[in-house]
């Protein structure tokens, strides 16, 4: 009924202010997004004076070619290892911390603030703190390792680097998940627990029958956020282990090194190729996110 009815007289002002706002987003967000697909079919380079040619599907062929296959499979494997581990560990631990801090404990407000703190510290500060903690020549982690008679290069150890990066990512990112779970917990009507108590339900049964079904929407939100975030994240890995450490090379960093150098994949060194990796990554994120959403929504209704 109110459709297209405007109370402010002429529609023109609404239109041009909208256009001004949209033009910023179109020029600096949407054009680059569509442009990625376009230039993934070219051999564009980082130097502006070199000629650019259409190369069809060559960049995609290169991505799946035998020369690049080992490197790219490794990057894919790392990406999934990172994303799945971060998503699972972060959600389970965050739920645990949220349930813990939802009790009437003295100091819980402080504890919540502390867990959320890394969100504002930023990746470089966090990266440096953990480079210091996992300093192989005399950090506290080294001292702990020594107690058990071992020694390790930590981020320099290809067998350990990924696990440590996952740990730091969870440490840094869990605050947001905890706060979302806390919000979900506080939305559960307390009467449900009282009724369950009267029925003689054990704590475990209450958790299973009341808490978990009511938290399902928060689980969906948290899982999606960490799946999408961790499949595309690279800032923290970049700071902790650099752009081209094979043990922690994820797709986002493969894009970075292909486009801007500094990596083992640099033999191709074309930004068209980097764009093709971006598209491959985009498709993966899209498929995984939709599948996750679909699965979790079905679980939500089943609970």
């Amino acid at each position: 009924m109110h459709r297209n009815y405007i109370v402010f007289g002429r529609r023109w002002t609404a239109q041009w202010t909208f256009l001004v706002g949209m033009s910023l987003i179109i020029v600096f967000s949407l054009v680059p997004a569509v442009g990625i697909l376009v230039i993934s079919f070219t051999d564009i380079r980082s130097l502006p004076f070199l000629p650019t040619h259409w190369v069809g599907l060559d960049n995609y062929r290169t991505f799946f070619s035998s020369a690049q296959l080992a490197y790219n499979t490794k990057a894919l494997k790392n990406t999934f290892e990172f994303a799945i581990s971060v998503t699972l560990i972060q959600n389970v631990v965050a739920l645990f911390i949220a349930v813990l801090l939802n009790q009437a404990l003295k100091g819980r407000t402080f504890a919540r603030a502390v867990v959320f703190l890394p969100t504002i510290l930023g990746v470089t500060v966090i990266g440096l703190i953990f480079s210091l903690i996992f300093n192989p020549s005399g950090g506290p982690a080294e001292a702990l390792w020594n107690l058990f008679g071992g020694s390790s290069a930590f981020f320099g150890d290809p067998g350990l680097a990924m696990a440590l990066v996952i740990f730091v990512q969870v440490w840094a990112g869990i605050g947001v998940a905890v706060v979302i779970y806390l919000a979900g917990l506080q939305a559960i009507p307390q009467e449900l627990y009282e009724v369950a108590d009267l029925d003689g339900a054990s704590r475990w049964q209450q958790l299973r029958q009341v808490t978990i079904p009511w938290l399902a929407p928060s689980v969906t939100a948290n899982t999606l956020l960490s799946v999408i975030g961790s499949l595309q994240s690279y800032q923290l890995i970049y700071v902790l282990t650099g752009p081209s450490n094979p043990a922690t090379q994820v797709l986002s960093l493969a894009i970075f090194t292909a486009a801007f150098g500094g990596g083992a994949g640099g033999s191709v060194a074309s930004q068209g190729y980097a764009a093709a990796i971006s598209i491959v990554q985009f498709v993966i994120v899209l498929v995984v996110a939709l599948a996750t959403l679909f699965y979790l929504r079905r679980r939500e209704t089943a609970l």
Binding site: Y5, F28, S46, L100, R108, T124, I129
Partner: protein
Amino acid sequence: MSTITVPPAGSAVAERPAPAHRPGGRLDSLRLLSYVLMVAVVLIYLYPIAYLVNTALKSDSEFIANPNGIVRHPMVSNFVTAWRQGNFGASVLNSVLYTAVAAGLGTVTSLMIAFPVARGYLKHSKLWAGLFAAMMFLPNTLVTLFQLALHLHLYDTRLGYMLILASGVGVGPLLITGYLGSIPREIDEAAAMDGAGYLRYLLTFLPTLLRPVLSTTFILQAIGVWNDIILATILFTDKSKFPVTLGLFAFKGTYVSQWSLLSAATLIVATPLLIVYVFLQRYLVASVVGGAVKG
């Protein structure tokens, strides 16, 4: 876009009286366990920061001799050296400028595009609303952003960096559209009757009405801008334009394994954040939940 039923942002941090705990002896030991676990969680977060402070106060020789002990001869000179060598004054100022401008411009942009769409003052409003949701989900555009900056002569300029970051409005337009649903259309009409034009309404009346959601939008974008290091890496060559993330990272590259100095530098960067956090903590937390749940 998704309809997740979590309470509105404000109530996320509201202290609700905790459930009355059922009496019984077993629960007392359970409470004790809860306290132990809570202290453990807090220590996992505070120990790394305490270790950083401890290291920042040590001389190089003391750190090498005894990296894990508590500092015996505190040296404040590390901070002076780090401040001078790292030029952190400039990079902190850069970051403050980038964050304020990019997040500010992004928030105004979000408002300018979200309001007419939410009210149906444009044709195809539904279509635009769909675009806002799709905008949350874009491929990695590092390569095209680099090429765009190059061709628009915005490479290695503060303006280019800020415009690109400002355009990353993320969940902002969706949040504002959602919040406008709770602002009655009659208020628009009343303002129009009193002779307020669209522009005046948009830029002076609405910011007051929408203050909670606009600050959420601003804070969410500000956190993203403050944390950026990759875009700064590919767009800037001039060190005097580095944001503090990149400045600190470059400092690390120069002073490899001078841990005391590095720790002092890290603390210089972290301290203003910690101070801001102490004051804005509830606000920040509420904003992040509000934004995250919508996404």
